[in-house]
């Protein structure tokens, strides 16, 4: 993808506010990542209080519209997390999703949405620790980008 698209935009300097907690919407598949997030809870693994969870049967369920809608609605970041490739509860739903999101990523970039606002990841039901770490990383990434204002009309 050409970076030119971004450089011509009037990038406003955002200072990273340490105390600012981005609001992130996480789409988690029921069988792996939702269970992984539960395991993080049961194991009392602490991670930043930034994610609100939408449970879906499978990452394959996630229509790109959902992600675009979340961004235009002002969520600072989106996380999509499912089973590891090859481990899908529904045989290949996560592979369908992976193909779809690879395309979506390019579209998002084309729309001028900063890479890092939308984070795709895998975490199994046994990976509570990994889930927490990935959320931490996603939070950091979104924090660096600052509030999601690209869809806000400036008055």
């Amino acid at each position: 993808m050409s970076k030119v698209v971004f450089e011509t935009e009037d990038e406003e300097e955002v200072k990273v506010d340490k105390d600012w907690k981005p609001r992130i919407l996480a789409f988690l598949c029921n069988w792996c990542s939702y269970a992984g997030a539960d395991l993080a809870g049961v194991s009392r693994i602490q991670y930043p209080a930034t994610v609100r969870v939408v449970r879906v049967p499978c990452t394959g369920r996630i229509n790109p519209f959902f992600i675009l809608k979340a961004l235009t609605d002002g969520w600072d970041g989106v996380v999509v997390s499912g089973c590891h490739p090859g481990d899908c509860h529904y045989i290949s739903g996560n592979l369908v999703a992976r193909r779809r999101f690879a395309l979506l990523n390019e579209l998002l970039e084309f729309f001028g949405i900063e890479p890092g606002r939308v984070n795709f990841m895998w975490a199994s039901a046994a990976e509570g620790e990994r889930f927490a770490v990935l959320i931490e990383k996603a939070t950091e990434r979104v924090k660096k980008l600052g509030p999601n204002k690209r869809f806000l009309k400036k008055w």
Binding site: P57, I62, I91
Partner: protein, 665 residues
């Protein structure tokens, strides 16, 4: 529902009347999040007509409270803000049902696993998340519609993968109850690792004496179809209706004709290392794994066979059972339930170079020691040193090899059987060689089972086995292939240097090397230690996360024989419970097509892994997608790709998800 209660009819068109029930979960939630404030907050949300809290919503009192309020407040949507829906969604759905409300007009807000437990040090953050989770749930609840539960038939048959002690016991239990069992075993015989053991701790009963009769029972039982030397290659379908493909590998010996007379092995010119004896003895290219193997027919190992043709001559094989051009055979069966009992592999200590396994001949593993001690083993129960075939005078055992290791290679968990098997082997040797010197180097002895502490205690007292607390950093080879051990006795705080004739590594149990194949075949999960994961560590220890599939024995985690058998019986009884009823309720979360929107592009057909979608010609709407509900699993891969938003997934509709998304503030 009692007589005084009325049924609440919801069509989906009436104004939502949402009730929010916030659970303290003792201090689990209330200790971090101010519950009162949450309740007050919930009351401010549109369409919420009632909100309250209680210490334990899942308790009898809590459930009654919800029921009463549904009736009293005429609630037509219910939200419980508490633990994960994976924990108590079924509980609360039942409450709705009992209160006369359709059970799918329910939504859970997870404020424990996804909030109070993971943001304990950030109570304000936890409170914000809890508020948002309640709001998202309320938003979704508005869009909920009543759904009808679906039932599917459960075929009264079970596939058991793995014919070790766990798989065999599960098979026998189910067969006795009258269910059809397909027992698939990868090797040419059932029995598993227990067949390799000599005696079993703590009672010291002979392993073969308790195992072999069971093996025969399995083979003889008419409800059990024994498929040895076979592997499961494909599983489709779902609870109650799994379609299984099994590949029977070619034996190159007609199993019907072979009488097991064994004349062929006397003539076969090829000798190779015997897997059963872990390379301590040889077998021929035509073989049975061990004399008591079940079934007792022979197999040719084509990787070693030189096709000299000797065994095929009628002078050697009278029944003319040899078939060099034998072909693999594929069979398909339909089963209602599946039990996974694939057991374990022994940890391979070669990577721990400091212990010299594979380099020094007199360093062996615990399982090899088991074969050496076995009265039907290669040495008929008289262990000798591999280097010179002399009886060892001194033996040292090292515990926790590849287990409880947080630094170098190996596994973090405790393998649970090694303390006891080393003690067993040491006692066995001492029984026959009272003068022998035996040392067991340990970190701490774990003797937790019934009779185990007594067994261990008597090993020291009555048998004079020396237990030394201390790790061994490294061993060297001395003169005459003796092993020189340097360690520290951490109890006496003294360095030790010791020369022994033989060094036994008490290796732990590991997940099967090919466990990945099973996970992807069955779509079950593995836990952090690599063993198959149970649905709940306490309450559902034999269920997997895939309905209708159970796990038993060491496949689920290290355990001894009594525990493996207990778990097998548990798995069998869980499977039987499903099959006895003959049908099971499944969530009615299927795909539905809006024909007026569908343009018939066919993307959904391509994405469906179950072949549940096809394009049909409709008189009014032209080419449209059509869903076969019997095949649809509700994954949503079709809906996720539908550019016209023409496919929806009940229970996870686009409207419901959009409502959650717009619930940012």
């Amino acid at each position: 529902m009692t007589e005084t209660e009325k049924e609440i009819i919801v069509t989906g068109n009436e104004k939502p009347r949402i009730g929010v029930f916030v659970c303290h979960c003792g201090v689990n939630i209330a200790g971090v999040i101010p519950i009162e404030d949450l309740v007050e907050y919930a009351k401010t949300l549109p369409d919420v007509v009632f909100a309250t809290e209680y210490k334990f919503m899942c308790s009898d009192v809590g459930q009654t409270l919800i029921k009463e309020k549904i009736q009293e407040q005429n609630l037509n949507r219910v939200i419980v803000a508490a633990c994960s829906p994976r924990m108590h969604e079924p509980t609360f759905r039942l409450v709705l049902k009992e209160a006369g409300l359709n059970q799918f007009l329910f939504e859970m807000a997870n404020i424990r696993e996804h909030s109070s437990w993971v943001h304990m040090k950030d109570p304000e953050g936890a409170y914000e998340i809890a508020k948002d989770h309640i709001r998202l749930a309320v938003n979704k609840a508005r869009e909920l519609v009543p759904l009808e539960v679906q039932t599917v038939e459960v075929d009264p048959s079970c596939l058991i993968i793995g014919g070790g002690i766990a798989g065999m016991n599960a098979a026998l239990d189910l067969a006795t109850e009258g269910y059809k069992v397909y027992l698939v075993e990868k090797t040419p015989t059932i029995g598993g690792h227990m067949a390799q053991l000599d005696k079993t701790f703590p009672t010291m009963d002979c392993s073969a004496c308790i195992l072999t009769p069971r093996m025969v029972d399995v083979a003889r039982n008419e409800n059990i179809e024994l498929l040895t030397y076979s592997e499961v290659t494909d599983v489709t379908g779902y609870i109650g209706n799994f379609e299984v493909t099994i590949l029977k590998k070619p034996h190159y010996v007609d199993q019907e004709k072979c009488t097991g007379c064994g004349v062929c092995i006397d003539h076969c010119p090829v000798s190779v290392g015997n897997e059963f004896d872990l390379g301590l003895a040889t077998r021929k290219a035509i073989y049975i794994p061990f004399p008591q193997a079940v079934p007792g027919q022979y197999t040719i190992d084509m990787d070693s066979c030189i096709r000299c043709g000797i065994c095929a001559s009628p002078d050697v094989c009278e029944p003319e059972a040899i078939v060099y051009d034998d072909e693999p055979e594929e069979i398909k069966v339909k089963v209602g339930t599946i039990i996974v009992a694939t057991g374990w592999d022994l940890y391979d200590p070669t990577e721990l170079k400091q212990y010299g396994y594979g380099r020094y001949p007199n360093v062996i593993t615990g399982l090899q020691m088991e074969r050496l001690l076995s009265s039907f083993g290669p040495l008929l129960g008289k262990p000798v040193r591999p280097s010179d075939l002399k009886e060892p005078h001194s033996i040292a055992f090292l515990q926790c090899v590849g287990s409880r290791n947080f630094r170098e290679g190996g596994n973090k968990y405790c393998s649970r059987v090694c303390c006891m098997y080393a003690t067993k082997q040491a006692r066995q040797y001492k029984e026959k060689h009272p003068d022998a010197e035996i040392y067991i180097f340990y970190m701490d002895i774990r003797a937790f089972g019934k009779g185990y502490e007594e067994f261990y205690e008597s090993a020291g007292r009555n048998y004079g086995i020396n237990y030394v607390r201390g790790r061994i950093a490294e061993v060297r080879e001395g003169e005459d292939h003796k092993i020189i051990i340097r360690s520290e006795d951490t109890l006496l705080q003294q360095p030790i240097e010791l020369e022994v004739d033989m060094f036994v590594l008490s290796c732990g149990l590991e997940p099967r090397a090919d466990a990945d194949k099973i996970t992807s075949l069955l779509r079950i999960q593995r836990s952090g230690d690599g063993f198959f994961m149970e649905a709940h560590p306490k309450l559902r220890p034999v269920d997997t996360l895939t309905e209708g599939i159970f796990v038993a024995g060491v496949a689920q985690g290290p355990k001894d024989i009594p525990d493996a058998v207990a778990q097998a019986k548990g798995a069998a009884s869980s499977a039987a419970a499903l099959m006895a009823k003959g049908e099971v309720e499944v969530e009615p979360f299927f795909a539905v097509v809006s024909p007026e929107r569908c343009i018939g592009c066919g993307m959904c057909v391509e994405n469906c892994a179950y072949g549940a979608v096809e394009l049909v010609e409709d008189r009014r709407f032209g080419t449209i997608a059509s869903i076969n509900q019997a095949l649809c699993k509700g994954c949503g891969a079709c809906a996720g790709n539908c550019r016209c938003s023409a496919i929806n997934i009940k229970g996870f509709t686009a409207e419901q998800i959009f409502e959650m998304i717009t619930g940012r503030f």
